[in-house]
Amino acid sequence: MKHPADWMTGKGADNAVVLTSRIRLARNLANVPFPGWAKKGQRQEVLEELLPCVEALDCMKDGFSKPLESLSSVQKQVMVERHLISREHAARGEGSAVVIERRQSISVMINEEDHLRMQSIRPGLDLTAAYETLSEFDDEVAGAVEYAFDPALGYLTTCPTNLGTGMRASSMLHLPALVISDQIGQVLQAVNKIGLAVRGIFGEGTESLGNLFQISNQSTLGESEATILRRLERVIAQVAKHERNAREKLLEDDPDMVCDKIGRGYGVLKHAWIIDSKEALNHLSLLRLGGDLGFLPGETVALCDELLMEIQPAHLQVHNGSKLSPEERDAIRAEIIRSRLQTLQPPDIRFIKKTGGEDDTSPDLGIA
């Protein structure tokens, strides 16, 4: 757990716009009450049945496996910040467990809302591959236990919103150019109209924090996994294309403004002594954009992604080795960022990446 997860470092994928792809599958055992309704003894029995069977799987060799009650609240919080377990799961104790693959790309929660919630994360837009990995894993588990399954309703889940495939697929997108050029509202509404869920983190007003957005499927029943994934990937690719075009357009129309924004972000991050997570996230977003556009070295994108993780509260606390007040956190956050940016040269407008711009900005999302 000391090292960043594989998907955080983004190796091998073009993740300048689509940061991650995540698949989650919800499964339950047949003829045992779901975790929220089960008695303590029944939860314990499910844990005793599932834990050895998950641990025994090939890909979990040298993995991390712990009952939740054996973890401190900071340890659990770090896992939440790394997207390995849910906040709901972190709140649980006895009768629940977490199993994490060595490279942190597959994680399994036992006795969360469902008996089994398995998750696979990859860098970039790669939902299908993430699904295939997880589906194989799921097959192996299915060979050892009997799932609650109904021919008409599919995998039976605690909440009917997960019924059928039990699959939730999502990607996290970085859309600063669409936000700067004021097109984000239209794009997100269009995505939403197609029946996909969009979530962002907004600060005061309409400006979103870090320009980060998540797109995921809402429906899990009535379509095959492949159909759901195809639609999601198509829409996400389109949104990414819109973002790319918006980046091109910004560079063409007003390179000084773009360089100014990135330069200010750089200045604050490199020289701040106290910084809250909201401010840090917003400036890191600009730095990340600068790395992609060529104002800053290309490695900047991966550096920003690592910092996005490291500056979260529990990560800071682990880094520091003791409990921190919010004020102390803001100081340590600034210190970490400063030291990581020490060797990063200031943005330079002369190095703007030359790319063949595409004119096609309208298309299938139906955005005027």
Binding site: R199, G200, S277
Partner: protein, 172 residues
């Protein structure tokens, strides 16, 4: 804007777009801390990737109460219709059979369709095929016996036994 919980000036604003609707939550610092939102960014970044838009709707852990059974209940786990209406979640897989009509009402509009057309568990497929084969073999055995074809019957009986053993091994 005022805090949704206590009405004091709000400091933490969370917004999300789900089901075509923009949902906003505004909280003051105290209420934010109380709900575990001590750091809105750290909080939201993780939840964004993990949550499925159901965050904050209903607590997913429900202390199992001895339900004084009013109305129908699931014969397997005792979950009642009232529990279902209250938390919109189920007690066990068999609840879906016990509350079939309610299930159909709930999933209408929630999903793209009402019938599963995705993956089927591997083991289940195999088990189903074996059971089908077993039925077929038993019929053939009856025919063979009534036709006094004892040699064929012996062979069929062996095959049936093999499948029965395999099923016993896979079925818990």
């Amino acid at each position: 804007m005022d805090c949704d919980k206590c009405g004091k000036p709000a400091k933490v604003h969370l917004t999300q777009l789900v089901g075509g609707q923009v949902k906003k939550v505004a909280l003051c610092n105290e209420c934010a801390a109380q709900s575990g939102v001590t750091d809105p960014t750290g909080f939201a970044l993780a939840d964004m990737l993990l949550g499925d838009g159901t965050v904050g709707k209903t607590p997913s852990v429900l202390p199992p109460k001895p339900s004084v059974s009013k109305g129908r209940s699931c014969p397997e786990c005792g979950f009642t219709l009232e529990d279902l209406k209250r938390i919109r979640r189920f007690g066990c897989g068999n609840c879906y059979v016990a509350f079939r009509d309610e299930v159909n009402d709930m999933i209408r509009g929630m999903h793209k369709g009402a019938t599963h057309c995705g993956k089927v568990p591997d083991g289940l497929m195999e088990m189903r095929q074996r059971k089908l084969r077993l039925t077929e073999l038993r019929e053939r055995l009856d025919h063979a016996i009534s036709a006094e074809n004892y040699e064929e019957a012996a062979g069929l009986r062996d095959e049936i036994r093999q499948i029965e053993v395999a099923l016993e091994e896979t079925e818990p």
